[in-house]
């Protein structure tokens, strides 16, 4: 593990040297003679973690002191004394980043777009995320980020993070262990702000300051997947908060906070605090209020209105490239809010530099045809998207419940779906027909292929065996003589296109099951799901190992934590210890048992794999979730002017989309 060492002796020298270079040569704009090891040409540099190195290790290997260079935009301000020089703005141990291809040039405005400022369509928000640690672009290796290093205790109940000495917020004030303890003890564990402790901290967590740059998170139960959580889905939720800025709004630090909040027009102090601090960054740091909150991110938001969001470089960003240039290279970002239907036109006209999030697959042909016109390259990185269907086995109608709870029915419904046609007609032949098992190291190809073949004969045989005889119009009859009718309410958000349920309903009709397909809003669907009032629950993300590690809920009752749910009465029974709801079947109880233990195991350990296997087997034996097609790629558009953008290995929400591509080292080629 990396332990930070004080470097205060070296610093004045570097400052002097940098100042000298400055005076003689003017503002340097590109890699200096010291060389520039990159991912493509590491020049013999050995790094402990891929693509990055701590300054002390770099200097040990090169045998020379790295000279930091000033950004040209800041030269005037530094000369005027309104901004400290670069070596004072950087932490004593800045993180050295190896650019992918070359050390870039400063400047340029990156153009992006989102649907609106609170939507989940903004990659600029996704790649600005900064957590203690992050995934390297192999999406497996956890590497230091804000934290310089970490130490676990033996039973994974305590983790100590070592912060960077001299790390500063964008207003120049120090970022310290207090910002972490404030976040953990006064925000996450504050019962007024969070009536229920948010996931995953609900396992019981508190923070303890050791010194200014050392802080310990202590858990009630082992939480070895913490770093995977922070690197993946947790990258959206920073585990620190600006104490200097936020504490005057907190009742614990300011007894008048409630009075002040009310005077400012808020209901209470919690409401005002919530506006400036929110776990989901879309909602606040991206909204106008966010301008005022200092950040550690590469870019600061300087302006926002209903049309666009503008970001400018953060002079205190803590990373440098291997030649000593402070990152990021790109000076500004302009993210316009554009109606999604117009995205293809904007892209084809070359009005965009990068887009990956929320891009529909069927748009790929028109984007590809217009590549030259718009001077961009569109690729198809794989993702882990794919709609899955979950029959509600706790349906309110007792006859339907009996049918849906019969595994033969679910098997028949799976066999009656022609996945190749779905793939061909809706997903350009790019997806993979697969059963709904996690995209994970512990699943095998035969799991993915279980009962995915189109076999209406076998489906009919299974339904006949269940005693569902066909009526005069070909539709099978239930035990009470009524035709079997599935009321399939869907929302386009979950199924990509209304043709998807229409196709499936057609095949089900062929085997004698009538499915009434009906579009409703996502909100209505969620409400119906929560009220146990749906026939089919739909998920649009496949369960994906990095996400599953920190959130096992897609595999246990009620098979989701957000979208339509299945088995709400079972969930109530499990949560209440059997006093309310309905008793679930044995397999559901076993899944709940596993879900208690599994997240406390070290990912990849023998016990972890064994329990994961058991979960997969329970799922396949009962075919609780019917998969359709998966690994649907997501078109990714990158301007040809952008340098250092690596090939996208996988595009997924669970990885924060473009987060792993290290946008802070992209630059505009001249």
């Amino acid at each position: 593990m990396i332990i930070p060492k004080s470097k205060f002796v070296r610093l004045p020298l570097v400052a002097l040297a940098a100042g000298a270079v400055w005076a003689l040569a003017g503002p340097p704009t590109s890699a200096v003679a010291a060389g520039c090891p990159t991912v493509a040409e590491p020049a013999g540099l050995q790094t402990e973690f891929p693509h990055q190195i701590e300054l002390v290790d770099l200097e040990k290997q090169t045998g020379a002191t790295l000279t930091f260079s000033e950004r040209p935009e800041f030269a005037a301000q530094v000369a005027a004394g309104t901004l400290p020089p670069v070596e004072q703005r950087l932490p004593e141990e800045p993180l050295v980043v190896l650019p992918y291809v070359d050390c870039g040039e400063y400047g340029g405005t990156l153009r992006g777009f989102a649907r609106a400022y609170e939507s989940g369509t903004s990659e600029i928000l996704s790649w600005r995320q900064l957590n203690m640690v992050r995934y390297s672009d192999d999406m497996v290796t956890v590497v230091p980020n804000v934290a310089q290093g970490w130490t676990w205790n033996d039973d994974y109940t305590e983790v100590t993070f070592h912060l960077r000495k001299g790390h500063k917020w964008s207003d120049g004030k120090a970022f310290t262990a207090d910002d972490v303890t404030f976040w953990a003890n006064d925000i996450i564990n504050n019962k007024e702000i969070h009536k229920e402790t948010p996931f995953p901290w609900s396992i019981g967590m508190r923070a303890e300051k050791i010194d200014e740059t050392t802080v310990k998170l202590i858990f009630d139960k082992p939480y070895p997947a913490l770093l995977q959580y922070m690197s993946g889905i947790g990258s959206y939720f920073t585990p620190y908060a600006n104490m200097q800025f936020l504490s005057p709004m907190h009742i614990k630090y300011n007894p008048d906070a409630d009075k002040e909040a009310k005077a400012a027009g808020f209901d209470d102090w919690v409401a005002r605090f919530g506006v400036y601090f929110n776990k989901w960054k879309d909602a606040v740091v991206a909204a106008p209020e966010g301008i005022k909150v200092p950040t550690l991110e590469s870019h600061l938001m300087i302006d926002i209105d209903t049309q666009r969001r503008i970001y400018e470089v953060n002079p205190y960003y803590f990373k440098i490239d291997s030649s000593g240039q402070q990152l990021p290279y790109i000076e500004k970002m302009n993210e316009r809010f554009v109606d999604k239907e117009l995205w293809p036109i904007e892209i084809m006209n070359g009005n965009l530099d990068f887009k990956a999030q929320n891009m529909p697959v069927p748009d790929y042909p028109i984007l590809k045809e217009n590549e030259a016109k718009g001077n961009y390259t569109v690729t198809l990185p794989p993702s882990a998207l794919g709609p899955v269907l979950i029959f509600n086995q706790t349906h309110k109608d007792p006859v339907l419940r009996e049918i849906y709870a019969d595994v033969r029915f679910r098997q028949a419904m799976s066999l009656a779906i022609n996945r190749d046609e779905i793939n061909e007609l809706i997903f350009l032949g790019l997806s993979e027909p697969r059963q709904a098992v996690p995209v994970a190291g512990f699943t095998k190809p035969e799991d993915e292929n279980y009962m995915i073949e189109y076999d209406p004969d076998r489906a009919n045989a299974l339904l006949d065996e269940m005693g569902l005889k066909r009526g005069p119009d070909g539709i099978r009859l239930r035990s009470d003589g009524k035709p079997v009718t599935i009321l399939w309410e869907f929302s386009t958000q979950f199924v990509f296109t209304p043709e998807f349920p229409t196709l499936i309903a057609g095949w089900w009709n062929d085997v004698g099951i009538n499915a009434l397909v009906k579009e409703v809003t996502s909100q209505a669907l969620r409400e119906k799901g929560a009220a146990n009032d749906i026939d089919i629950a739909i998920e649009w993300d496949e369960t994906f190992e990095p996400v599953l590690i920190s959130n096992v809920s897609p595999m246990v009752v009620p098979f989701s934590d957000f979208t339509p749910l299945m088995g709400v009465p079972w969930r109530d029974w499990l949560n209440s210890g059997g006093t309310s709801g309905e008793e679930p079947p044995e397999w559901a109880k076993r899944l709940a048992e596993i879900a208690e233990v599994w997240p406390t195991l070290v990912p990849g350990s023998a016990k972890y794999t064994e329990l994961a296997r058991e979960m997969v087997d329970i799922h396949l034996d009962n075919l609780i979730i019917i998969g359709t097609v998966g690994r649907i790629p997501k078109p990714n558009v990158v301007s040809n002017k952008l340098g250092n953008v690596p090939k996208y290995e996988i595009a997924n929400f669970g990885y924060g989309y473009a987060f792993a591509l290290r946008a802070d080292q992209w630059y505009f080629k001249n």
């Binding site: 046609e421 061909e424 007609l425 350009l428 043709e499 229409t502 809003t521």
Partner: protein
Amino acid sequence: MSRTTGAAGVVGAAAKGSPRTRSYEVATHWQLMWWKFRRHHMAIVGLSVLGIFLVISLVPEFLAPYRAHTRDLRYAQGPPMGIHFFDSTGTFHARPFVYGWKSERDPVTLRRITTVDESKLYPMQWFVKAEPYKLFKLFDTDIHLFGVEGSKVHLFGTDQIGRDVFSRTIYATRTSLSIGFIGVMIAFVLGLTFGGISGYVGGMMDLVVMRVVEFIRSIPTLPLWLALAAALPRDWSATQVYIAVTVILAMIGWTHLARRVRGKLLALREEDFVLAARLSGCSHVRIIGRHMLPSFMSYLIVDLTISFPYIILAETALSFLGLGMREPAVSWGVLLFSAQNVRSLVLMPWLLIPGLFVIVAVLAFNFVGDGARDAADPYAK
């Protein structure tokens, strides 16, 4: 006012009394209207178009070569097929034919591309046997107006999942026109009846009807729709829900017309010719139906012909509440909805063809309305 000058015109025409105008003098009101209407050429064209639409609405199963949900997987996302008389060698064929085709995916852009195979010709056939259906829900048959044997014909191409756009448009015509008709007629009859009573009787009756109208109009529409979305049975199909919504909207919509009819009648009530009719001992029904209504029929016709296109175009507007027409229902609105994006415009522009039907229908209604408005006042020059 053209109505009163029209009445004066009768006197003038009768005074001349030449043999040429004898039929004109003895003709009934409706005959006069028809003669006048016939002179409006565009109106005749419009009426013919509506007649065609009526036929389409009656027997779409017969006219469409395929059912609305039949998929032709091999020709999915395929463009409209041309009907040819001359083959690639220039030889004339008395029986028109379509070419064979091959559909494949472009390896680079992944776009589905259909190439015509000019070596294979499939002649068009009349009255082919294909998918069975029940004509008028009574007679089992499998005869379709046209088709080809050994292959498929897609006059307007196919959609994303291979459904024939021509057949779907035919079926959609029935849905859209019949629902529009129901909605407009309910509002029209209610508006006319209540507005008529209110305006003609006046007094206490007027007071009560107008307060009811105000009450209905004060109901906020959005909460009403939300309540409907919750109240309508969930197992109704999108089409059933939409019919219900149309009816309910008509129940509210009649108030506009009722107010205008009332206002008109209040004014007409005081006219000399009404007074004359009353003094001659005409019944109230006769006074309203015979003397007052015809004198502002042109207004009613305009109202009718404007409401029709409105209801056709409003079809998909309610879908955000789950009340409008959406897939898998088949209507003009649904067909156009799937064409409302850049992708369809670039890759499958033929999905816009149903839009032509909407335009033609709206224009036809307007022309007929135009002609009927002129004709409604047969004495006006």
